[in-house]
Every structure is written in structure tokens, then in C-alpha cells.
């Protein structure tokens, strides 16, 4: 309790105010509020304890941090001293030391304090002054230090390279590893080697489940399609002078991956000269002659034949190169490779420099190139347009010859969906054998797509030309971007056209009829015509969504179909 003299001795107001102003905040509080209550005391005690604990914790943390740093510094100076003192033989200490390090942190942060100290220590012991970088250090102590790649792999996938130097050293190390692996691998069997006299290298690129590693059902269905359509057409090619590169997602589900590799292993056993490389990669580099085309880790080549890839790549440097696209559910005519290579040698070989060709070639400094695009193809469709006709409920008609429109079931297109749920066969009218058979295989129809299709699309360039010379465009825009070489007239053979006509242009290839077969199933990326339904049979809603034009059946004559068929 504070006694106020001003109040007891009747001093004037001014002196009282001065007295109060001179008091500390605590005394002012006591003056106007009297004694502290119990609650106030308890509250203040709690605050005091809290403050005390906080200060203690902070001090403890600082002490602990300081202790750890001192320990690490001691360890660094000790190990660096041992390594340097022992020269090349001191690596054993370094190895043990690396295990103590937080290795991933060490790799990720090149300029942190720990790395700097380590390098500086080593630098003082290196006569050649190559210890500016830890990779060089490792090479210096290569007999005992962990291989660089083991640490290199610790780098997170999305992390950018620490420095250009690190990156270059990493690549250098990788190339060394490639060479080592190549030496370890079995030599390429003679039947798989490209003969010296062979002037051409052909690659067939296929993508499989890229960026879709976990869609197991889709993957297995596509695998079945590949087994049924794609694989036999390549395996039975009359010329096996090509390399089939399958690029699948690196994280492909084990079930699909095993199935794929087993399938390829069986095929290569059956056909010893069948060149196949399966790799885990989501990249689709173009230009096989470029070095980056095969710049993948050999471990990602699942078929363990990285050397075969290298062999083809090396061979491509001085030969004509053909790069063909083929989807996993498509196939090629069995004479495709043989005849295309025959043409490529004819048109892209430099020995074929007649005066006309020379004149045309002079317009560009580079060699010749050509793009081949399948002029004819067939589509295997999962559904059948006649599926409805074979159905039991056939009372609905469409547009009659006289133009009369009769009832159209708006959901009619759905009825060609697989009839897997029709368990009770007795409830359905029986179909005759022909009908059953024709429905069981799906439908095989002439391809009606305008422009270039993916299967069989081939870019070829001579030994003097580069892939970059060929204009880039999506496959369905190629015919708009690249001038067509020569419009064949009715009955005209391509081989009768002067070779000078085939220079830096698009060849709509009709030597083989049909060139390719396209699978159209519910596994396809595009679903147009997959269900075997013609646009006219689709509901209005579906037609609007698809944006398809209705084809006038009245104008359609059998001869038009037969012309496209050309069988």
C-alpha cells in the first residue's frame, strides 16, 4: 500500500498531479487499483513461469546447435587432414566420412559450408589443382570413393543440375558407364548386325502407355491388341532390316511390363533376326541420327540390349535413315519395310544424282528427304455396322429409298455395344452361322480418313540431310504443309515416275494396297467409328457432340467403296 502525502496533508492539486506523473507505471497501477487481487497474482505468476521456460528452451536450443556445429567442424578437419595426408591412399577415410554426411543435402547444395570446406582441404593437397569440384575429387580417389553415379542418382528428379560443370561431369560419367556396360554386355549376334553394304537404317517407333502407367485394364487390353495386330505384322516383315523401338512409361505397372517383355522375348526367340528394343521412357525424340536419341540410361532399356540401340545409331551416321511411326494397335503390310527401303535407296541415295535432281537439290544446301504417308489403309473396328441388323429387335427402319423417314431409335448406336450381358441366349432369336461369324470378328473396312494417318508415316533423309530439314507438322496436317511429290494418275505406277519428282516432298504411298491396318477399339485415344456405327445411325445428341457430317447414302455407290478397297 502506498501512502499519498498529497492527500493526507492537503497539498494543492498541481503538486499532486506532478507527483502522480513522476510515478512508475506499476506504482500508478497500484495507486488507482489498490492491492493486487489473488487472481492478478496468479496470472502474473503464470506469465513469469512461461517467460522463464521460453528463455530456458531458447538457451538450450542455441547450446545444442552450437555443440553440433562444433562437432561437425571437428569431423571435417579430421577427415580432410587424413585424406590429404594419405594422398591417393587416404580414400578409405573419405568413404567412411561420406557416410556420416547427410549425402543428399551434400549433393543438392553444392556451395554449402560443408562442401566448401571439404574441397578447400583437398585442394591444398592436389598438385594438379583439379579439386575445384567434388566430381574431380572422386575421380582422383576413384579407387576407394563411392562411384559418382550412386550419389548422382540421389539427385531428385525435378531438381535442376547444381552447376553446368556438375551436369557435364555427370554426363561424362554416364557415358563412361555406358561404355563399361557395353563391354559387359554380350556382343551383338551376327544376324542382328547391319551389314556394311547395307545403305539404309530404318527405325519403327511405337509408344506404349506413356504417362499412363497405372491404367492396368487399359494396358492389358492394349497389350492384347499389340499381340494380335501389331506384333505379327512386324515379326513377319519380309525384310527384317529395321529396329523396333517401343517406349513405355518408366513406371509402368509390373503386370503390364511383365506381359510386354514376355511377349517380346517370345517373339525374338521365334524370329532371331527380329530387332526390338523396349525402353522405359516418356520422351519421344525425333531424329535418330542425333546423339540425344539414345541418351537414356542403359538400365532403362528393359530388353537389356542397349548395345543394339547404339549399333543402329552409329550405323545411321553414314546411311539413309527412315523413321516410321506405328501405334501399338496398328499394323503394317508385310512388304512395307522391304518396298519402302527399295524406294528410299532409289530416291535418297546420292548415287542417283541425275542432272534434274541436281538442279533441284541445288536449291538447298542439304541432301534429299522425303515423307511417306499411307495412301490406303484398312480399319479393324471393334463394332460392326451390321450388328443392329443381326439383332433380334429389327422392326425399326431408317430412311427408305423413297425418302420416307421412319422411326429412328435415338439410342440405336448403343445397341452395338458388346452383348456380354446377354446371358440368356434362349431369349434371343437365333442367328445363322454367317451372321454369328461376321459379328465375332468385328468389322474390317476401308479407311476413310483424310490426310496422313499415323501407322506407316515415315520420314526419310539421306546421309547428307538432317532430320531438321523436314518440316514439322502433326500427321493430319502434313499434306497441307508439304507439297505432294507426284499425283499418280489412274493406272500409273509410281516407279514409272522420274526419280527427280521425288525430292523434298510428300509421297502418298499406294504401292501396297492397303499399306496399313488400324485398330479402332475402345482402347483407342480417338473414338471415331470405333463402335462400327455410321454417323447416320448416331443419335442427334451424339452427332452434335462429335461434330460429324452426315453422309448421304443416296449418293453412295458400291463402286466408290470398291475403289477405295482396291483389292
Amino acid at each position: 500500500m502506498i501512502k499519498l502525502p498529497c492527500l493526507s496533508n492537503n497539498h494543492n492539486t498541481q503538486s499532486t498531479i506532478r507527483y502522480i506523473k513522476g510515478l512508475s507505471p506499476v506504482k500508478k497501477r497500484l495507486l488507482f487499483h489498490g492491492n493486487l487481487t489473488k487472481n492478478e497474482k496468479a496470472r502474473r505468476l503464470k506469465w513469469a513461469i512461461c517467460l522463464y521456460l521460453t528463455i530456458c528452451a531458447s538457451l538450450s536450443f542455441l547450446l545444442l546447435t552450437w555443440t553440433m556445429m562444433a562437432s561437425i567442424n571437428h569431423s571435417i578437419s579430421h577427415s580432410a587432414g587424413s585424406g590429404g595426408g594419405g594422398g591417393g591412399g587416404g580414400g578409405g577415410t573419405v568413404h567412411g566420412h561420406l557416410e556420416v554426411f547427410p549425402t543428399d543435402e551434400w549433393v543438392r547444395n553444392p556451395f554449402n559450408r560443408v562442401r566448401s570446406q571439404r574441397n578447400l582441404s583437398w585442394k591444398s593437397n592436389d598438385k594438379e589443382g583439379k579439386t575445384q569440384h567434388y566430381v574431380n575429387n572422386d575421380e582422383h580417389h576413384s579407387t576407394t570413393v563411392q562411384p559418382f553415379q550412386q550419389r548422382f542418382h540421389l539427385r531428385p528428379q525435378n531438381d535442376s543440375p547444381d552447376t553446368e560443370e556438375t551436369y557435364a561431369s555427370g554426363k561424362q560419367y554416364q557415358s563412361q558407364q555406358y561404355n563399361q556396360l557395353q563391354q559387359q554386355q554380350q556382343p551383338i549376334p551376327p544376324e542382328l548386325q547391319i551389314p556394311d553394304e547395307e545403305p539404309i537404317v530404318q527405325i519403327i517407333n511405337t509408344r506404349f502407355m506413356q504417362n499412363q502407367p497405372d491404367l492396368v485394364e487399359l494396358g492389358l487390353a492394349r497389350l492384347e491388341l499389340m499381340r494380335t495386330i501389331c506384333l505379327p505384322t512386324l515379326q513377319q516383315q519380309t525384310s527384317q532390316n529395321f529396329l523396333w523401338i517401343i517406349r513405355a512409361d518408366p513406371d509402368l505397372h509390373p503386370t503390364i511390363k511383365t506381359g510386354l517383355l514376355n511377349m517380346i522375348a517370345t517373339a525374338t526367340q521365334e524370329t532371331p533376326d527380329f530387332h526390338v528394343v523396349v525402353m522405359g521412357s516418356n520422351d519421344n525424340p525425333s531424329g535418330f541420327r542425333r546423339a540425344n536419341h539414345i541418351l537414356v540410361s542403359p538400365e532403362l532399356v528393359w530388353t537389356d540390349n542397349y548395345n543394339l540401340l547404339q549399333h543402329f545409331q552409329q550405323a545411321s551416321q553414314s546411311r539413309i535413315v527412315l523413321e516410321t511411326r506405328l501405334d501399338a494397335d496398328d499394323g503394317l503390310h508385310i512388304y512395307f519395310v522391304e518396298l519402302m527401303q527399295e524406294e528410299a535407296i532409289l530416291y535418297l541415295s546420292q548415287a542417283n544424282d541425275d542432272p534434274q535432281t541436281e538442279n533441284r537439290t541445288n536449291t538447298s544446301s542439304s541432301g534429299n528427304w522425303l515423307v511417306w504417308c499411307a495412301g490406303t489403309h484398312v480399319e479393324w473396328q471393334y463394332g460392326t455396322p451390321w450388328g443392329d441388323l443381326l439383332q433380334s429387335n429389327r422392326t425399326k427402319t431408317e430412311i427408305l429409298l423413297n425418302g420416307t423417314e421412319v422411326t429412328v431409335n435415338p439410342n440405336r448406336w448403343k445397341s452395338t455395344l458388346p452383348r456380354m450381358k446377354q446371358k440368356d441366349a434362349s431369349s434371343q432369336p437365333q442367328q445363322d452361322d454367317n451372321d454369328k461369324d461376321s459379328d465375332a470378328y468385328g468389322s474390317l473396312l476401308p479407311g476413310l480418313t483424310r490426310g496422313c494417318i499415323t501407322p506407316g508415316l515415315t520420314k526419310g533423309y539421306s546421309a547428307q540431310a538432317n532430320f531438321e530439314d523436314i518440316p514439322e507438322a502433326q500427321h493430319h496436317h502434313l499434306h497441307l504443309k508439304i507439297e505432294q511429290c507426284h499425283e499418280l494418275k489412274q493406272g500409273e505406277s509410281q516407279l514409272s515416275v522420274p526419280t527427280s519428282e521425288f525430292n523434298k516432298c510428300l509421297v502418298v504411298w499406294r504401292r501396297l494396297i492397303p499399306n496399313a491396318i488400324r485398330g479402332r477399339t475402345p482402347t483407342s485415344a480417338g473414338m471415331q467409328f470405333v463402335l462400327g456405327k455410321h454417323t447416320s445411325f448416331l443419335s442427334e445428341e451424339a452427332k452434335d457432340a462429335l461434330g460429324l457430317e452426315e453422309i448421304d447414302y443416296k449418293e453412295m455407290q458400291p463402286s466408290k467403296f470398291c475403289m477405295k478397297l482396291c483389292l
Partner: protein
């Protein structure tokens, strides 16, 4: 092969039937040449089609999920058809379950 046989006589005069019959003839003829030109065996195609049929719902569902992923096409038309396929199979499954339940309860 007889196209537009007696079971579909009512269609014989329609364009639909005419075109479809033509397609059926074309397809039948083309199958004969496929083995020769592509070495694709028709029985294996039938087998694969059975596989696709049995797994249609799951495949369509997966394909729907896979649409528009990196490097793959992203067409409204495909999405539309795949959704229809998935819905169709979902409703077919529901109907089948209901039928099976009814048959089961009647048998019991």
C-alpha cells in the same frame, strides 16, 4: 455370304440395309486378304474381341481416365463416347444384378 437374309427382309429396300450389306460383303472379302497381307489370324482377332468384350467396362473407364493425359489426345467426342460406354455398362450391370437377385429369391 448372304447379306440381308430372310431375317432382315424388311430392310432390303432401305439405304441403311444397302450400305450395311455392302460393308458386310467388303469386310468379309477383306478378312480373306488380311492373313495374306498382314499375317493377322482371324481366330486371334475373335479371341481378342472376346477379351475386349469381357473387360469393356474397365477398359472404357481406364481410357476415360487416360484421356487428356500428357501426350494423349483430348477430344470431347471421345470423352462423350467413353462416358456413354461406362454408363451403359453400369446400368447393364445394375439390371443384371437386379435380375439375378430376383431369380435367386424366386428359386429360394
Amino acid at each position: 455370304m448372304q447379306c440381308c437374309s430372310t431375317s432382315v427382309t424388311s430392310f432390303a429396300v432401305s439405304h441403311f440395309c444397302k450400305t450395311t450389306c455392302l460393308l458386310l460383303i467388303v469386310s468379309s472379302e477383306m478378312w480373306k486378304s488380311v492373313l495374306k497381307r498382314f499375317m493377322i489370324a482371324q481366330p486371334s482377332v475373335a479371341k481378342m474381341r472376346v477379351y475386349l468384350t469381357e473387360h469393356m467396362a474397365a477398359v472404357a473407364q481406364d481410357n476415360l481416365q487416360g484421356q487428356c493425359t500428357k501426350g494423349h489426345s483430348c477430344k470431347n467426342s471421345s470423352l462423350f463416347i467413353l462416358k456413354q460406354l461406362v454408363d451403359e455398362h453400369a446400368s447393364a450391370n445394375a439390371t443384371d444384378r437386379a435380375t439375378d437377385d430376383a431369380v435367386g429369391s424366386a428359386t429360394a
